[in-house]
């Protein structure tokens, strides 16, 4: 059996070489060459100009991740305390929007946030706008809108892993902690929270990585006025400034930075990097 089944790995290894390794190798080659061939480091030296984009992307993604965590953790925690029927329905309801394409979800916010959109109309109707003496509050095409879009799209990615860890917590541990004299806060701080760390880590990864690299959300809700990393890369491949070499270099740097961030973070998780899959 072993000998035979081992052969089954061969096609996969070939496939992997072609469609997993080769693209990345090619990306590295592109990043280190200039147009027309020849080794060049220009792509990296000129990247300093885009430092602000890097910082902005990481900042917005971090804010979004933090908001997701602050909202998602209590929700996951409360959900895990409910009865099994409630839990099942709540889980389904949280996952449901994920099966709608995320662009549709983002699009839903566009008409709400427009200058003439629902929120502004509502504020106008109840007289808040007159009170402030403006005809609208600018909501769309701001960084706030981008963060909102990220939170809206990726909140389920935070809730689900945390929930699935908390729900599996061994009840006897909590009882033991309580028996040993810990109060509610103590139980949470010393038992529940440390044990739910793997869920938090995987949630953070699942929110942060797509947030930091998004281009659709920033384009739709941010108006493209201030680029994010995703926009910058997209611009060089299918956008208005064709330069796959620089694009590949930026993508590479982003990949490395993200991997380093994740590694550092997982290091804090100490060996619990076993990702919690959905």
């Amino acid at each position: 059996m072993k000998n035979k089944s081992r052969r089954l790995a061969i096609p996969y290894v070939i496939w992997m070489a072609l469609f997993v390794v080769a693209p990345i190798v090619l990306m590295v080659i592109y990043a280190f060459t200039a147009e027309g061939g020849g080794l060049a480091l220009d792509n990296f030296t000129s990247m300093g100009a885009y430092l602000d984009v890097f910082l902005r992307s990481f900042e917005l993604a971090l804010i979004a991740t933090l908001v997701c965590l602050l909202v998602g953790y209590p929700v996951a925690y409360c959900m895990a305390k409910e009865g099994p029927r409630f839990q099942r329905i709540a889980m389904a309801l949280i996952m449901l929007p994920m099966w709608m394409n995320f662009l549709l979800r983002t699009y839903a916010w566009m008409s709400i946030l427009e200058n003439n959109g629902l929120i502004n109309q509502f504020l106008g109707a109840i007289g808040v706008l007159d009170l402030l003496g403006v005809d609208h509050i600018r909501l769309i095409r701001t960084q706030g809108a981008v963060v909102l879009g990220m939170v809206y799209n990726y909140l389920p990615f935070m809730i689900l892993p945390i929930y699935s860890v908390i729900v599996k917590l061994d009840g006897s541990l909590l009882e033991a902690a309580r028996d040993l004299g810990a109060n509610t806060a103590g139980v949470f701080r010393k038992v529940i929270f440390p044990l739910s760390l793997p869920g938090i880590l995987s949630g953070v990864t699942m929110v942060f990585v797509p947030s930091v690299s998004t281009f659709a959300i920033s384009r739709l809700l941010g108006g493209g006025r201030q680029m994010m990393l995703g926009d910058l890369i997209e611009q060089q491949f299918l956008g208005g400034a064709y330069d796959p070499h620089l694009g590949a270099a930026i993508a590479l740097v982003m990949m490395v930075v993200v991997v380093v961030c994740m590694a550092v973070m997982n290091h804090f998780g100490e060996g619990e990097e076993q990702a919690v899959m959905l």
Binding site: V53, S111, N115, I233, V259
Partner: protein, 670 residues
């Protein structure tokens, strides 16, 4: 973990659901709106649903999405399962590094996966093109296509590539949990490998396979980014279509399609939950039965007939649905391949779509009509191997660049008799001096469109584009040539300057204004929606589009600023290696005819190079609308010579200047 449930907790959960669902509910409600606003309710109607089913672009993309997701799921589930078994058979020393490498697509940001795949395909296409040219050169037996483009195949490959790791991740734990002695036992008892797989392994790992397939399907359906970089232009998933639509005038058809999707998913979810609950109940019953029968063992029949029946029924259903899927796939594939097709790429709101229907009816050639945002985007798309087009309609300077890079095919003017109707002023222009590659489509000027209710007095200068007074109210045009061109014109320089200092000054002007928050955003086709809705005061855009906007918002005004402006010609060209050359000629000839030009002129309000059409237009207008054509309107359509005098055409810039434009343009968003 069952402890006190707090009211606060439920409240929090309720709030979260409200946050998650309010936008979707709103979307659904407004999908039944009689008007096309997403804010103002104008009565109930199902018009948008009717329109949705008539919208070929959306329906085709729904079909593409489903097909690619199903195919990718099936293929990656089978491949991933076998790969997992294969990896499982390896020693740990080999297995873990292979697993790590295999997981790269799940760990990487989608955009990195997408971009690297895009590079891989582009590199393969380049290699193929060299090979095909060589082979076509040395022999005459087979003629290989020299230009390959991204399309359904590349999309499917990419989807399989990112689905497989999820299947492996789900199957591997089940394999690990399996008792390995079972396999040995089966083989000792004389099972062949395949039998062992079918009778022993598969039943054990089935839950993992099923959940792997489910996740793969979810990933495929939800994916946008990877598809965007690997599908090219002619194949479009629903997400890509929606992205394209949000960049134009947003149509409530999107609301309708979202609602339908949502309802479908909701129904599936409810169904699966009900089934699950029922299964649980059945399992409990079985358990109880077992307990009761424990003391009175009854020999069970060899095979419960009911069970057999159900198994066969399930198999039959699976077989029938698989067969149906195959038949539909093949039917559609053959139907589309047998038909004559022409792939056209143009700009947003740049054609009277009735003309497409008319052309299809007259010639039987199916038109795949796509749009892109700007010349620069078109160029990127072509270079990335994503532009599967026959006919494109770039502007003057881009045509020069494409000719320079040997990307255009010469036209066969004998197949385009209507070329004779093109005015002499529009022949032998600088971009195509010998007139070998182009037939003009439309022409116009760049100017300022502004909302008179939001601006004090009249705007006459490009200064308005940089004025802090209008902070947050100005829309910057989203392509480097026009944006920097505007700044150059305002500074009194030529739009074709190659002087780095002048260009940098222009950039500084834009950048300062951007820093001061003058610009609300960068727009191309979104401009229609934003300006018509009164959501911005000032935008630099094209004359013809102003007239389109005016139909929906009477407060708008247009001016070609006193500093001068750009006048442009967009011309139809055929890409090198176009697969439907003759059909392309037929389309170009059709679009150059006087009737088409008249209909198109009346729809897009851009100037035409067809001399007959422009002469007949006032009469055409009078007949169509029962009133005289307003002279002011006509002067915007057909820019008069005194205005044209201060306008300059864009010429192709040398490579260094183009690179400078590119760098500056990227820096602008920083």
């Amino acid at each position: 973990m069952k402890s006190r449930r707090s009211v606060g907790g439920r409240f929090l959960i309720a709030l979260t659901f409200l946050f998650l669902y309010a936008p979707i509910v709103l979307l659904s409600v407004f999908s039944f709106n009689a008007g096309d606003s997403s804010v103002v309710w104008k009565g109930f109607s199902i018009d948008w649903y009717v329109k949705l089913f008539q919208n070929r672009l959306i329906m085709e993309s729904v079909y593409t999405t489903l097909l690619v997701s199903i195919l990718a799921t099936v293929i990656s589930t089978v491949a991933g399962t076998f790969a997992a078994i294969g990896l499982f058979g390896l020693k740990r020393r080999w297995r873990s590094p292979l697993m790590t490498v295999g997981n790269i697509p799940t760990v990487n940001a989608d955009i990195v996966t997408g971009v690297s795949m895009c590079l891989l395909f582009a590199a393969c296409f380049q290699g193929w093109s060299v090979f095909a040219r060589w082979l076509n050169g040395v022999q005459d037996v087979v003629e290989l296509p020299t230009r390959l483009t991204l399309g359904f195949t590349t999309l499917l490959l990419a989807h399989i590539a990112f689905d497989i790791p999820y299947v492996i991740l789900n199957v591997s734990p089940k394999l690990r949990q399996m008792d390995k002695n079972l396999i040995d036992a089966a083989q000792d008892l004389g099972c062949t490998w395949m039998q062992t797989f079918r009778k022993v392994i598969l039943p054990e790992i089935r839950p993992g396979v099923v959940s792997g397939a489910l996740i793969a399907f979810t990933m495929s359906v939800d994916d946008f980014v990877i598809s965007y970089f690997t599908a090219g232009s002619s194949t479009s998933t629903l997400a890509m279509t929606i992205y394209g639509m949000t960049k134009k005038r947003v149509s409530p058809e999107i609301n309708a399609v979202s609602t339908l999707l949502f309802v479908t998913v909701l129904a599936l979810l409810v169904l699966s939950n009900v089934l699950e609950a029922r299964q649980e109940k059945a399992a409990q019953k079985k358990l109880m039965l077992q307990k009761t029968t424990e003391y009175h063992p009854v020999k069970p029949p060899r095979r419960a007939p009911a069970v057999t029946k159900r198994v066969w029924f399930r198999r039959a259903v699976a077989l029938v649905s698989a067969a149906a899927l195959l038949v539909v796939t093949f039917a559609l594939a053959t139907a589309t391949s047998a038909q004559r097709v022409v792939n056209v790429c143009s700009w947003g709101e740049y054609i009277d779509t009735d003309l497409i229907t008319q052309f299809e009816e007259e010639t039987g050639i199916r038109v795949n009509y796509q749009t892109v945002e700007s010349n620069e985007t078109l160029y990127s798309l072509l270079k990335s191997g994503g532009g599967d087009y026959d006919v494109i309609v770039p502007s003057d300077y881009m045509i020069s660049q494409l000719i320079e890079e040997d990307m255009l095919e010469e036209l066969d003017y004998s197949q385009i008799p209507n070329f004779s109707l093109i005015g002499e002023d529009f022949k032998h222009l600088p971009y195509d001096p010998e007139n070998k590659y182009t037939v003009p489509y439309a022409w116009g000027t760049l100017g300022i469109i502004y909302n008179t209710t939001m601006v004090d007095g009249e705007i006459t200068s490009w200064e308005a584009m940089f004025d802090e007074k209008y902070a947050g109210q100005v829309l910057l045009i989203n392509n480097s040539r026009d944006a920097l061109g505007i700044a150059l014109m305002y500074l009194g320089y030529s739009v074709n300057t190659t002087d780095e200092e002048e260009i940098r000054q222009a950039y500084q002007l834009l950048s300062d204004a951007n820093d001061k928050g003058v610009y609300q955003g960068k727009v191309m086709d979104e401009v229609f929606q934003v300006m018509e809705g009164g959501n911005a005061a000032i935008a630099a855009y094209y004359a013809g589009d102003y007239l389109t906007m005016l139909e929906n918002n009477e407060d708008l005004a247009f001016v070609v600023p006193e500093e001068g402006s750009n006048w442009f010609v967009d011309a139809m060209c055929v890409l090198k290696g176009a697969r439907h050359y003759d059909e392309a000629m037929a389309w170009i000839n059709f679009m150059a005819s006087t009737d088409s030009c008249l209909a198109n002129l009346d729809f897009i309000w851009y100037g035409t190079a067809n001399t007959e059409a422009i002469e007949q237009y006032p009469a055409y207008y009078a007949e169509a609308y029962g009133e005289e054509l307003d002279n002011e309107t006509f002067r915007i359509i057909q820019t008069p010579p005194e205005t044209l005098e201060r306008c300059e055409m864009y010429l192709v810039l040398p490579k260094e200047t183009r690179d400078l434009y590119k760098d500056l343009w990227l820096s602008l968003g920083v």
